[in-house]
Subunit: 137 residues, 2 copies
C-alpha cells in the first residue's frame, strides 16, 4: 500500500501537494518502527549524522522544530542537544521517492557528534592505501 | 566488540590510521547484513539518495570505484547505473563514529533517482501548511 502511494506521487507534476498527515501514515517504518534520518547542515551542506526517528519523534520534530530522534541505545526519545546543548533546529524536511528515508536540513549549534567533532563522519577511508584515517571533523 | 573498537578510535588524534580490512570487520551491519549509505554529490553537495550495502557491495565499491548497493527489493547486488547508465563514481568514503553508517561522496552521471529527478528527496514537507509538495528535484 505504501509502495503504491509513493508510485502515484512519482507521476505528479511539480507543485502538486498532498496531506502531511496522510503521507506520514504511508511512511515506511522498519520492523522496529524506525525510519533513517539524514541530518545535513543547512548552511555548509555537510552531512552531519544519520539517526533514526519513530512516528512520535517525527511529529515532535515537525511541531517544535527541535530535531528529535529515537535513541536505539537508550530506547527513548532524544531531542538532540537536550543534555549537550548542541541543538539542531529544523530548517526544512524532505522525504525520498519511496518513503523510507527522511532528509532534514538543520541549523546545528556546536558539534553534531558526541565526540565533539563537527560531524560524525570523521573516519576517512583511504581505499588505495587500505587504511582508514581519523580525520579532524 | 564493535562498540569498543569505535570507542577506542574516538580518542585517537587526527591523522592516526587503522587497517581498512580490520575496520570493515568491525562495521555494524544490521540483522539483514546491511548498512545504510548516504550518497552525496561531491560537487554540488546535495544529498542524492540513501541506499544499503552488504559487505560484498562495500568491497566492490572500494575496488572498482563504481558505487554498488544491495537492492532490498530485488535481493541482489546493484551497481548503480548498470541498466540506466546513471552511474555513481566514488570520490571519497567516510564511516561514522559508531561504525553503523557510510557516507559516499560521488560523481553522479544523470539522475540519481529512478524517477529521473536529480535526487530522491523531491517530496518537500511544508510543516506549517501540513502538506507535502512534489518538488522538481
Amino acid at each position: 500500500v505504501s509502495r503504491e502511494f509513493f508510485q502515484q506521487l512519482e507521476a505528479q507534476e511539480t507543485g502538486v501537494s498532498v496531506s502531511l498527515e496522510k503521507l506520514i501514515g504511508k511512511l515506511v517504518f522498519d520492523e522496529h518502527g524506525l525510519i533513517p534520518v539524514v541530518a545535513q547542515d543547512a548552511v555548509s551542506h555537510e552531512v552531519l549524522m544519520l539517526a533514526w526517528m519513530n512516528k512520535r519523534a517525527l511529529e515532535l520534530t515537525l511541531t517544535t522544530h527541535k530535531v528529535t530522534y529515537w535513541s536505539r541505545s537508550r530506547q527513548q526519545l532524544w531531542t538532540k542537544g537536550d543534555t549537550s546543548g548542541n541543538t539542531q533546529t529544523l530548517v526544512s524536511m524532505s522525504i525520498d521517492c519511496d518513503g523510507d528515508t527522511i532528509l532534514c536540513k538543520i541549523n546545528q549549534i556546536g558539534a553534531a557528534c558526541h565526540t565533539q567533532r563537527r560531524n560524525c563522519f570523521y573516519l576517512s577511508v583511504e581505499a588505495d592505501a587500505k587504511t582508514v584515517v581519523v580525520n579532524a571533523s
